[in-house]
């Protein structure tokens, strides 16, 4: 098992820069998510760690050793591909045994380890079948088997659930996480599905346009997004953005939206008058009649225990997640209040969050 350190990693394909100066650390035994929309450079980053692409510059350290220019075969890493990439001309047993055969492991040992892995993944009955007729879930298990049989330093997974049916995905996600917890192997997992990342990951790196936007635990990233992109990408419905002109000084505990003070965590920076964005999660919005900040109810969606109410404010649309017992009639004007310690304040021009007492400990990419 291994710690993986990424330092100033950069990859250019001709004139196109896929990954720019990425740096982050994957601790030993961590389930690490590379998250972002398609084309953000997450897969390229994974492929560079695996050795399928060589970086243009920067370092990749696995257990302290710089492997950035080494071929994949010398990195002792296993990978699970999105389409599984099971060798179609080999049966399940041979597929799983393949990496061991390349290392020249003795026949008895190969047989023993393949069967052990098959037992863990509950695919013993499939060992002598061809891979062509397998269901998506079984292919996934065989691909996992081929990865874990080697006991590599780390696992790379490129959207391994992407090819599965929605209903099956949930189950495999649980199985994957359980498998990881049992083996404790460092795992790097690429996904574009923020829910999957939040659900399974110990740590998440959010990437966009080849840039690491934020790096941290799911909770940090959800509660204290470092940029507008992260705030918008993570969470469903997305974080509400109230756009306004304003200024503040270090030590302030509120900002003024058109003269109405809104309490925030203690601000640790200062800003001259400029366009600002106040970020607030839907669950941190409450409807109270006595708040001076007024909004009009536009619609509500019933979700069982909660409902999502869409409101129009002078600073844009806001979605609130409130208990479904609360009656919000369309057309009604209500007061809004926000949970102060959960608010984020962004510079509209740069998209970056300002330092506050709340997000001070959070790593900003």
């Amino acid at each position: 098992m291994a710690e993986i350190v990424i330092r100033n990693l950069r990859k250019e394909f001709g004139a196109f820069t896929a990954v720019q100066q990425s740096s982050f650390t994957i601790a030993d035994g961590e389930f690490f998510m590379l998250l972002g929309p398609s084309g953000c450079g997450k897969t390229t980053t994974l492929r560079m760690i695996a050795g399928l692409e060589l970086p243009t510059s920067g370092q990749i350290l696995i257990d302290g050793e710089d492997v950035s220019q080494k071929p994949a075969s010398q990195r002792d890493i296993a990978m699970v591909f999105q389409m599984f990439a099971l060798y179609p001309h080999l049966n399940v047993r041979k597929n799983i045994a393949y990496p061991l055969v390349s290392q020249g492991v003795a026949k008895d040992e190969v047989k023993r380890r393949v069967e052990e892995v098959a037992r863990i993944l509950r695919i013993e009955h499939l060992l002598d079948k061809g891979v062509g007729g397998l269901s998506g879930g079984d292919r996934q298990r065989v691909a996992l088997g081929r990865a874990i049989v080697r006991r590599p330093k780390a696992f790379m997974m490129d959207e391994p659930l992407g090819a599965l049916d929605a209903e099956f995905r949930e189950l495999m996600a649980e199985e994957l996480r359980a498998l990881h917890d049992r083996m404790g192997a460092t795992t790097v997992y690429v996904t574009h599905d923020q829910l999957e990342a939040m659900q399974m990951g110990d740590k998440i790196v959010v990437m966009n346009h080849g840039v690491v936007e934020q790096f941290g635990t799911p909770q940090d990233i959800y509660d204290h997004p470092a940029t507008l992109f992260v705030a918008d990408f993570i969470g469903s419905p997305a974080m509400n953005f109230l756009r306004f002109e304003g200024s503040f000084r270090a030590g302030d505990t509120s900002v003024s939206l058109d003269g109405i003070p809104i309490a925030t965590p203690e601000l640790q920076a200062e800003a001259a008058p400029r366009p600002l964005v106040l970020g607030v999660r839907p669950e941190h919005v409450t409807l109270t009649d006595d708040s001076p900040y007024r909004a009009r109810v536009e619609a509500s969606e019933y979700l069982g225990t909660t409902q999502i109410v869409t409101l129009s404010t002078p600073h844009g649309m806001v979605k609130a997640r409130i208990p479904s017992g609360h009656v919000a009639r369309t057309g009604e004007t209500v007061g809004l209040s926000f949970t102060a310690r959960s608010l984020s304040l962004f510079d509209a021009a740069t998209g970056r969050a300002f330092r506050t007492a709340a997000n001070a400990g959070v790593h900003h990419g």
Partner: protein, 313 residues
Amino acid sequence: MSAYSVTEPTGRSKLVAGLLVTLYAVITLMPLLWIISTGFKSGPDSISYPPKIVFEPSLEGYVNLFTTRTRVAAEEFQNLPPPDTWYDEIVRDQGMVIAGPSRFGERFLNSVIIGFGSTFLSIFLGTLAAYAFSRFKVPLKDDLLFFILSTRMMPPIAVAIPIFLMYRELGLSDTHLGMILLYTAVNISLAVWLLKGFIDEIPREYEEAALIDGYTRFQAFRKVVLPQAATGIASTAIFCLIFAWNEYAFAVLLTSGTAQTAPPFIPTIIGVGGQDWPAVAAGATIFLLPVMIFTILLRKHLLRGITFGAVRK
């Protein structure tokens, strides 16, 4: 799963289709049957009119194909000891004696060496080139591929005279190596283009999985790409072999003695002692066999190969 719908054909359309296919098969197989049956006819039967459908089979054609014969004076013929082998007897029945073996055997062997040799070389070079074009960033890739294709834009025989002169200077005329190189040069563009198509269809992930599983690039190519390209390689090999096997014009021009292949040799049988159609037919039958066997052996791959890549998966 499929985006298109397929309806089961009706009984009548199946019948019509079956009849059409049968008719086509009969038309195509007719000349083949004619050649094979003529090979087993006696000389007079082979030219009788109307043609004999039912005839007494004879190995005369095959014996004549592999031997050269000579007439001897009538009184000497009477005094010969009785024939000691079955083929002696067949020749005696024609009023002749065996003078020696014909050259068909060695010409046929030349065809085998040159045909299979050039097919092997075309496939070997073609597969490596196609893999490189398919997987790596090759400078001027498109131009190179176009250049390779452009070698087919002119009928090869148009450059026969330059090649003839060049081969004479290089001492490649009438050599096995010369013919293998020539047929390889003609086939390689076909091989590169066909094989590139097949290799493009093989997802890169398979090789990448092998690279990560600890194999080198070459091992991944050999153990993962080659088995999956087998279909494409087999069908490309058949195309290459058929060309090299059947090629006539260059063979006539460039070979005469040591490296002459069967195609220019077979017509020369006609001139030996009258028009010996059974021998010609026997030669044609034997000549057909290797390609036929090769094709039948690889037919599963060939069928898949022809439709491969036609349907987007």
